[in-house]
Amino acid sequence: MTVVQAPRRDDRPSAVPPRPTFRHRLSKWDVKYSPYAYIAPFFVVFGLVGLFPLLYTAYVSLYDWEIGDDDPPFVGFENYVQLFGDGQFWNAVGNTLSIFVLSSGPQVVIAVLLAALLNTRLRGPTGWRVGILLPYAASLVAIGIIFANLFGNQYGLLNSILEAFGLDRVDWQAGTLSSHVAIATMVNWRWTGYNALIVLAAMQAIPKEINEAAVVDGAGPVRRFVSVTLPLLRPTLIFVVITSTIGGLQIFTEPKLFDVGQGSNNGGSSNQFQTVTLYMYQQGFENFDLGYASAIAWMLFLLIVVIALVNFLITRRLASTEGGRR
């Protein structure tokens, strides 16, 4: 090694001026600057479609900005003031929260239990996993239409089944709670399997020794699940809860397609299932009031941040107290 290096060192001073310099310099530039070129696409795209819009939304929300308006008047916080007194907005917030609770709550619980079932020594494990994940491949729009049909008032399959059992049919679209249940069902149908696989992956990463130690200590399967598995799943559960919070609070496609008045953005005859994103869409692209819609977008952003934070704290606490002595 030293033998090879020594003559090189000697060569260098004399070889500085002519050709090695150019190639050397080129290569040095390559090492120094090409990493920036490789990461640049992300920053350019994010700057244009992520960061700029977020700030610009705040800017637009301070104007009475209509689509096609060349010189929108500045109105300061008037849009926000108006929003706070807007019953339809708070109704949409309530609907969003209700649908969110009805969907992500059962979703996470069922996903964990499903993962526990999948974590046994099944025959053909991949087949089961693919089967569980199937809804994830479905088109959201197709599913929205199919579920709207299944939950239909007159000819819906669900009501036919209810009647077959001698029960009363439910007007799924008309009721507040019933429409929320129906929409939450669509969401749960789509995402439960996906979340189950994420939880399953975390379960499989739990070292076998820990479980075996619990077995030696005489813990039964239920006890082991509650005291060993759940606490160790904490980071994954937090991840699942946070992602389903962000997704759940932005829900748009399902309520839009669930409306009997098709193509409408009202979220039902009395806005009983209009969500915040749907209301934002209605204000912006049906009523062409972009300023007001931007104010709604920012309020939604704040709502997501607050609820994600609350969920984070709750999940962290739940998963750790269930662990008992740690």
Partner: protein, 292 residues
């Protein structure tokens, strides 16, 4: 018997529960999973069922459970009602270009963050991870204004360009590249006189192919299924498949056989892809969850 049990007595207690734990799951486990899989399949089957009959089926008290023979007639009507071929073509074009570019740019950035040294690398990466939490949906209004200013509204580039590369893609490829590409390999290529970009192309890219494939499948599906943004920025004459479906449904009167024939047509391609590649997709989700 008594003699043999006496000898291995000490290791016996841990061994016995171990057997119970490693035993095959019982009937209950399989039955529950089967219910879930059937529940996953049912909406697809129902939509095909209605699509293969006529609208009258829905008024019957006891709906038939086997497909009828009207599927192709209904499908033909779908193609007459909306620009379905055009919508399919648009969706294929959008999803393919978004996928190719996302995979390329994410792999490049992943390579840089995982294997190259440069000033500001760690803070920049943290920044990318933070941006994962920013819901892109909230930027639709200014993005729409920007697209109108550019004169892109109504064109497919308005759907493609914002999705050229994602924070998730960069994060995903970086996590994989860290382990998959040994430093020695990169150094060897450099000593042999490879430029950075050649090193990436000939050394890094082949090694990260599995992760790139999973990212490609995720991206394709997400892009294929996107609804809100295309709905805002595209116009009715130039739809993607999802928009065409929505148009089918929002007519004055709903012919469910027609609408559900449309949903079936739109679902079949992606369902086939999913069933062919399901194994890898599942493996990808499992792997991502462990690392993320």
């Amino acid at each position: 018997m008594t003699l043999t049990t006496a000898v291995p007595a000490p290791p016996a207690p841990p061994a016995r529960p171990k057997v119970a734990k490693l035993g095959r799951p019982n009937f209950f486990v399989y039955a529950t999973l089967a219910v879930f899989v059937l529940g996953s399949l049912f909406p697809f089957y129902w939509s095909f069922l209605v699509a293969s009959r006529d609208n009258g089926m829905l008024t019957e008290r006891v709906p038939p459970l086997v497909p009828g023979g009207n599927f192709f007639a209904n499908a033909a009507q779908v193609f007459d009602s909306v620009a379905f071929w055009k919508a399919m073509g648009n969706s294929v074009l959008v999803a393919t270009s978004v996928t190719l570019s996302t995979v390329l740019f994410s792999s490049l950035a992943g390579f840089a963050f995982a294997k190259l040294r440069f000033r500001g690398r760690d803070p920049l990466f943290v920044f990318i991870v933070v941006t994962l939490a920013v819901p892109t949906q909230l930027g639709v209004i200014p993005l729409f204004i920007a697209m109108s200013e550019l004169g892109w509204a109504g064109g497919l580039q308005a759907v493609i360009v914002p999705n050229l590369v994602t924070a998730f893609g960069v994060f995903w490829m970086r996590q994989y590249t860290v382990d998959a590409v040994p430093h020695e390999l990169i150094e060897a290529a450099r000593v042999d006189g490879c430029s950075m970009i050649r090193t990436f192309w000939h050394v890094c890219l082949p090694a990260v192919r599995p992760a790139a494939a999973v990212l490609a499948m995720f991206t394709f599906m997400t892009s294929w299924n996107d609804f809100l943004w295309p709905l805002i920025v595209l116009d009715a004459g130039n739809p993607t498949v999802q928009l065409a479906l929505e148009q089918l449904q929002s007519g004055y009167y709903t012919n469910y056989s027609l609408v559900l024939a449309g949903t079936t047509l739109a679902t079949i391609p992606i369902l086939i892809v999913f069933l062919l590649l399901g194994r890898q997709i599942v493996a990808g989700i499992m792997q991502g969850a462990v690392k993320g």
